[in-house]
């Protein structure tokens, strides 16, 4: 691997508080590297140091084997381009004039634009889809259009290395994807090494070959996305618990933040689920601060997957197998401990009829029957389930999801008051 940037012991501070402290990093040629980390971790500062916009307080940066401070700016600009976070304001130039400014490192002081300059400008504007408004004033363009013009300008430098600071802050989803696809394509063609500061971890995971996770001014982890985006490292850097799954399309890591309960409530809620009927309830219930248990769920079921991801206490049985006596009793035990029982709109067959029976074991617990779908549509037991359900309707309340949360909240407030 050819090393493009070699950073050793880099230290930087704007005033007294160090932004970067003893940072070590090697960046190889021909990669798409993402720099991630929480606000204030020094991502943008690192990028500005790499571009020589700032000078380090301590340590060294080598660019292609030569110390960065030995590089002439004019020479550096032929090999290194930067696209910043913000586009310049009120620029009274046309888009193509702005992109032409990117040719400055390749022009002599008084020479006018060569035909090669114009050719490069047009090409860069075409691949960034900005050619259509090449002759419109820059200040009249939308934020997203301006950002794509700024990318064209950076590419017009024909750099070997492109530094990007939050490049898609003003772009909507489709342009964001298009933007990164283009960068990834150029990198894959072997034309470019791209180093981007990114906020969106999932975006970083799906496009970058390598990630560097900064925390408090030094490198916490570096490597392939799978190595960097682990629940432990993310919690360490961001202080947030996440669930790391796989992106359904790319297979790259995909992070989902775990619910943060604003306040803890004493209420214990048991959800009878299965067949994906309860999946949507778990997250908001945990977020509302309740202690949530659930059962009996088949392994591999959507409800089971999500309850597992959220780390809920649950009763599980192997996929496609009927509820065993042991599982049923475990379920009853959880119901006994709960103050409220929620019966999701589960389809019932002979295999999980026990779950319906479990619901009727309630004693003083409040019972809520979710009304998403009438039971007749989900009764595969030839009427047995319907009979049991009718009996349950007399003992509990049939509610919508919205009503469920309102009632649970009421109950928990009442409980907490009576306990005082």
């Amino acid at each position: 691997m050819t090393v493009i940037f070699n950073v050793q012991g880099l230290t930087f501070a704007y005033d007294k508080a160090a932004i970067l402290e003893d940072l070590h990093l090697e960046i190889g040629k021909g990669v798409f590297l993402g720099i991630i980390g929480p606000n204030g971790s020094g991502k943008s500062t690192l990028l500005r140091l790499l571009s020589k916009a700032l000078a380090p307080l301590g340590g060294v940066i080598e660019f292609k084997g030569t110390f960065l401070d030995r590089w002439q700016r004019a020479e550096l600009a032929k090999q290194l381009a930067v696209m910043g976070q913000e586009s310049p304001q009120g620029l009274d130039l046309t888009a193509s004039q702005v992109v032409l400014l990117g040719r400055a490192p390749h022009q002599s002081r008084f020479g006018s634009e060569s035909s090669r300059d114009l050719q490069v400008v047009e090409e860069c504007m075409r691949i960034t889809h900005t050619w259509d408004y090449a002759f419109r004033p820059f200040y009249q363009l939308s934020g997203g259009e301006q950002q794509r013009v700024m990318l064209a300008r950076a590419l017009a430098q024909e750099p070997e290395v492109l530094l990007l600071d939050e490049p898609t802050a003003h772009l909507d989803l489709n342009y964001q994807l298009e933007f990164f696809s283009l960068i990834k394509y150029l990198v894959a063609q072997g034309k470019l090494t791209a180093i981007a500061v990114l906020h969106d971890l999932n975006l970083a995971a799906s496009f970058c070959d390598q990630l560097v996770l900064l925390s408090e001014g030094s490198v916490l982890a570096a490597g392939a996305p799978e190595e960097v985006l682990t629940a432990e490292l993310i919690e360490k850097a961001y202080g947030v618990k996440v669930q790391v799954g796989a992106n359904p399309l790319t297979g790259r890591p995909q992070l989902s933040p775990l619910p943060l309960a604003k306040e803890k409530r004493s209420l214990r809620v048991h959800v009878i689920g299965g067949g994906g009927a309860a999946a949507k309830l778990y997250y908001p219930l945990v977020q509302a601060g309740f202690t949530v248990t659930t059962g009996v769920l088949n392994q591999g079921d959507t409800d089971w997957q999500i309850a597992k991801n959220l780390g809920l206490e649950l009763v599980e049985i192997p996929a496609f197998s009927p509820i065993s006596q042991a599982a049923h009793e475990e379920n009853l035990a959880l119901i006994k401990k709960a103050q409220a029982v929620v019966l999701a709109a589960v389809p019932f067959g002979p295999g999980n009829l026990e779950n319906l029976k479990a619901a009727s074991s309630i004693d003083k617990q409040a019972l809520f029957l979710l009304s998403d779908r009438p039971l007749s549509e989900r009764d595969y037991t030839g009427g047995i389930a319907s009979k049991l359900y009718e009996e349950l309707m007399g003992r509990g309340q049939v509610v919508t999801e919205e009503e469920l949360f309102a009632l649970l909240r009421e109950q928990s407030v009442a409980d907490e008051e009576s306990m005082r």
Partner: protein, 340 residues
């Protein structure tokens, strides 16, 4: 759509506009040389030029003296001062990325005024231009030095230290004016700016400095364009930002200080002309700068001609005309161009 064709078209357009403006300037100079307390015909003016430049015999001695000794040097000085102030305005507006900046922003006018007032008080009136020039350069250098921070000069600090320098020196000027009541009018008239009584020696005295200043700026037009993207981006495009800033400041200070030395502090030209031309050409300094020089020259020749004829035989300080005519015209343009 072809980029090459578009750029050529654009360049041809601005070359054409420049040539037209140059023609307008020449015609204006001829007309200005004809009008005044002694009215001459354009033919008589033309004969004087022919005899002086081509050596063709011309009988009219009086016309020769009036045109060649009295009017022409003054008109040319007005043209050069207009060009120099406008060029300095372009440089500083580009440097500060702010179209409300004028060449006097860094205390140059107060410094020059202080120098001039000092010369008057010290009874060295014949040295007013030199004192004014040095005062202006000194004030700008002071503002620049005070704004330095770790080898860099952030433009915001520069602007603020310029304002502080300016107000400090203005206070000193006021003290000098109070101290020497009998010279009050000399100083006051000088502050208003005027071309009255200027002839060849004054012109040749200040011309080299103006030219040096403007050429310094001319060499930095590419840098001014890159600065449009912001200082950091300009640096990342290979520009030595601090060096360019120093050169631009030096060029602008020389051009403006030489103007002030030649004619006092004429307000408004260096602010309005670049702004006005930018409405037409956009921000590309390769067009903005030369067109501003020509427009500034035309504007000030016109203003001076009005100043010396409108209330003849009394001459108004030209600064009054530039503000009186320039300000409303500028406001009109701003409102008309407001939808741009």
């Amino acid at each position: 759509m072809d980029l090459n064709v578009q750029l050529k078209k654009q360049r041809r357009k601005w070359h054409l506009v420049s040539l037209s403006l140059f023609a307008v300037l020449i015609i204006l100079v001829l007309i200005a040389a004809a009008v005044g307390s002694v009215k001459l015909s354009l033919r008589e003016v033309w004969h004087v030029f022919q005899s002086k430049i081509l050596g063709v015999e011309s009988g009219n001695e009086a016309a020769q003296t009036i045109v060649w000794q009295l009017r022409l040097p003054r008109i040319l000085l007005a043209a050069f001062v207009g060009a120099a102030l406008s060029g300095a305005g372009v440089a500083l507006q580009g440097l500060f990325r702010n179209s409300l900046v004028d060449p006097y922003i860094l205390g140059l006018s107060s410094g020059a005024a202080f120098g001039a007032a000092l010369a008057v008080v010290l009874k060295l009136s014949w040295l007013i231009p030199a004192f004014a020039f040095l005062g202006g350069i000194f004030a700008t250098a002071l503002a620049y030095t005070l704004a330095q921070e770790r080898g860099r000069v952030p433009v915001m600090r520069l602007l603020l230290s310029g304002v502080a320098t300016s107000s400090f020196l203005s206070a000193l000027v006021s003290i000098l004016m109070l101290k020497s009541q009998n010279n009050l009018q000399t100083i006051f008239l000088w502050l208003m700016g005027s071309f009255s009584g200027r002839s060849w020696p004054e012109l040749f005295l200040v011309l080299p400095y103006m030219a040096a200043g403007l050429i310094t700026i001319l060499l930095q037009l590419r840098e001014l364009n890159l600065l449009l993207l912001g200082e950091e981006a300009a640096g990342q495009l290979g520009m030595e930002v601090e060096r360019a800033k120093r050169l631009l400041l030096l060029g602008a200070a020389m051009a403006a200080a030489a103007s002030v030395a030649g004619s006092g502090t004429i307000a408004f030209v260096g602010l309005v002309v670049p702004h006005l031309v930018r409405l037409l050409t956009g921000s590309d300094h390769r067009f903005l700068f030369p067109l501003s020089l020509l427009t500034g020259a035309i504007f000030l020749v016109l203003a001076d001609t009005i100043a010396r004829t409108i209330m003849a035989p009394v001459e108004l300080p030209v600064g009054i005309i530039t503000s009186l005519v320039g300000a409303p015209f500028f406001l009109y343009l701003l409102r008309a161009g407001g939808n741009k």
